[in-house]
Assembly symmetry: C3
Homo-oligomer: 332 residues x 3
């Protein structure tokens, strides 16, 4: 699939600075795009990557245009323009090409009844795939893996050796990214990245791991993930980190090595958590953690009758402090 | 299926005020029931709907009887009586009537291998249904939808146009409503409502949306729902609201338009949240929100060693206040 | 499968005190192991069970050796040794032995298309199993059960009478237990226990219940569990307890009878909660609850602008108290 910049500009209601006949055949991140691909920059956080990008063209708004050293497509809402464009380059497969395991030839693997397997799928030696799994096009699964029943592994996901994926897990689902237009309507970003899972990883029942928007969501070697965990697009989980059940990690957050994340923890997006961090169950992480250690953030459970009395003051701590003429600097 | 009031009274251990031979063929809400249907009222919050209902009969307790202008079935525990009765009117399907997609005729849709489709199912033009989906009786799916692998869409659910449902999602599962009897045993309410989903809705991987108890659970146009979200029975989500992963919304809560609900938020039941409300990740919402704005409720994360010190005081805020002779009125 | 203690000691890098030729054919808990099985003790909490165990051998570290009255395998890291050993005794099934429902003979049950059923599976009278379920070897399902689409019931799970399992639920998934070695690499414990579910239990859509490590995870009669709930290995839920959606209960926690656990509650592992406890939605339970009553632990939601002001003080409560010269003993 190819579009000229002229066609792209029309599609996203933008203007061109550069060559309108330049042909574009894909989308990529600023630092990975080649001269036939288009990229985008949403804020001046990206101005350096923007200046040094090898992309064939870049979508920017007026304020960022001057940092763009290649063809520019100038729009009002960069993220919305990207959402519209990503739909054009969306990954497609012919779902009627998925064949039953028994019609495919993986003589060194064991593939149970009712598994449906796409085109260009690799399944390693001694790997076992249980019943009712759907393995889409271009997936690769290493040696000695165990894929349990009712698992969906979506287009292009890569799984290393010695991995276990428990029933009902979904690997490579579309990320949750939506651009908003002037009428407050959402436009979904088509996610063109993949999920990349290392060796010796285990993934729990009904856990979901979204594919990346452009680059991949990455689960490194030795990571252990429990049931009903959500890993959003472009999250990176470092080696040998363990994540207990019901935890959710929002988009683009990077977690270090050997971390232990308790159950039902919520980690917001775009954070960086260093190596060897332990986060206790049900905590909310809403800031970077730069120092290894044990972290906690939840309210102790009490009799509801007590909680009702305490709760009134919880929401007025700033006013208590000011009434008591306490200043932060004095109590440090 | 039909029962006389006499038969119903026997079933639920009640007495009749009115015509014991009156025939009833279904259950409905006070404001929607017709003269052949029975309804129920559990508290005097409903006394006006009770007085004006067109139902053929209404289950009430002694205290509400005087507000009932039609045949009454009088019981001690209305909700329990309804639970027992709802089981009688339960929606049934012959599961052996579900046919493989390829045996059904949807020439304008693409239906992959191993999909099983019930009686009286509509599938719109250009809609794609991936492998291993189960689409039960009386479901309707609009045009241009994408239903991904291993999705279950249960009896009577309605899905609009241009919707995306990610792998493993469950649409129309039975709601969690149980009445308790005098022996502290639970009796499940059979949920007779459906799930009604508008146009341009997306639903994430392994998300579950329960069907309504009597009326429908409603997801309006343009709503975007992420992975592992739980939407309980009779919840209504307004247009263009976005809900991030791992959030749960309890029964009968109504959420306005253009809200943005962060990840892992817990919203309790029977609340009303107005339009244009933003709720930050992992907050608990336990009261109505009448004013648009940004809301938050979680405890900041700290080193566990700090949390242990802070936690002691967190549960004693009311006592701190009284020790310091702080009064709420003084600090407002 | 049989190993001599000599072989076992080699496998786990341990030394033997006792008979190196003693043959072991399985693993069990200290109080249930027979003279052909091996058990293990990780801390001196278990010293009494250790002394009175009928096991043929017990894995211990040096400090616990003196309490062992039978053959001992002495290692540095008991849990790691057990992880390695458990893999050897892992439950296996030939997944190609799972047959379509229609090829199996359950004349008194209704089994829909695309269900795959293992060896030695019992399905009771009037039980209905919907499409695309996978029922593994040695599972037993009672009478009058309803198993909805896309459910996975893994090896050896036992389900009583009159149970309902909603779509996408996973029963008997491997528990999340990993031992860490000296290089900070995880070694999964192979879970050899099962899930045991009583009568009149309902389990919600996409809920996951892990099998026990050695003994079983137990869900007693009359328990009602909502959607997207996680029940970890070796949890025991008492009769007639109800658990709302999105709650997670960590390993080995014991919950009493007639409890009502709200939505999105997090309960940490190894706790005991007595009968008739009500826990409000989204609370974290991190201590035993010995007295029935209503418990709560969450932070009230506020305008984000208020939360930012309050949050600063929330994390400094101990310092406020010390600045104000408040002592805990004075405010009790």
């Amino acid at each position: 699939m190819k579009f000229t910049l002229e066609e792209i500009a029309k599609l996203v209601d933008g203007s061109i600075e550069g060559d309108p006949l330049k042909e574009i055949n894909g989308v990529n991140s600023l630092d990975k795009a080649n001269s036939n691909q288009i990229s985008y920059a949403v804020s001046d956080k990206y101005k350096e990557s923007l200046s040094s990008s090898s992309a064939g063209a870049i979508i920017v708004d007026k304020s960022l245009k001057r940092h763009c050293k290649t063809n520019a497509v100038i729009v009002e809402n960069v993220y919305l323009a990207y959402a519209i464009l990503s739909q054009k380059f969306q990954l497609n497969q012919d779902i009627n090409n998925l064949k039953y395991g028994s019609e495919k030839s993986y003589p060194k693997a064991t593939i149970a009844a009712n598994c449906l397997i796409g085109q260009n799928v690799k399944v390693g030696n001694n790997t076992i795939i249980h019943q009712n799994c759907v393995i889409e096009d271009n997936v690769s699964i290493g040696n000695n893996c165990l894929i349990e029943p009712n698992v969906s592994i979506q287009i292009g996901s890569r799984i290393g050796n010695n991995c276990v994926i428990s029933p009902g897990a979904v690997i490579g689902s579309e990320g949750f990214g939506n651009a908003i237009d002037a009428n407050k309507k959402w436009h979904a970003i088509a996610h063109l990245g993949n999920v990349s899972i290392g060796d010796d990883v285990s993934i729990g029942a009904n856990t979901t791991i979204d594919r990346g928007s452009i680059t991949d969501t990455e689960i490194h070697n030795g990571v252990k993930i429990d049931n009903l965990v959500h890993i959003a697009h472009n999250v990176i989980i470092g080696e040998d980190t363990a994540i207990a059940a019901k935890t959710g990690i929002a988009g683009s957050t990077i977690i270090g090595k050997r971390c232990m994340i308790g159950g039902a923890v919520g980690i917001v997006g775009h954070l960086t958590i260093t190596d060897d961090v332990i986060i206790n169950a049900t905590s909310t992480v809403n800031r970077n953690i730069k120092k290894s250690g044990v972290y906690t953030g939840f309210i102790p459970i009490m009799l509801h009758s007590d909680w009702k009395k305490v709760g009134i003051w919880l929401t007025k701590l700033d006013k208590i402090a000011s009434f008591m003429k306490i200043k932060l600097k004095n109590i440090r």
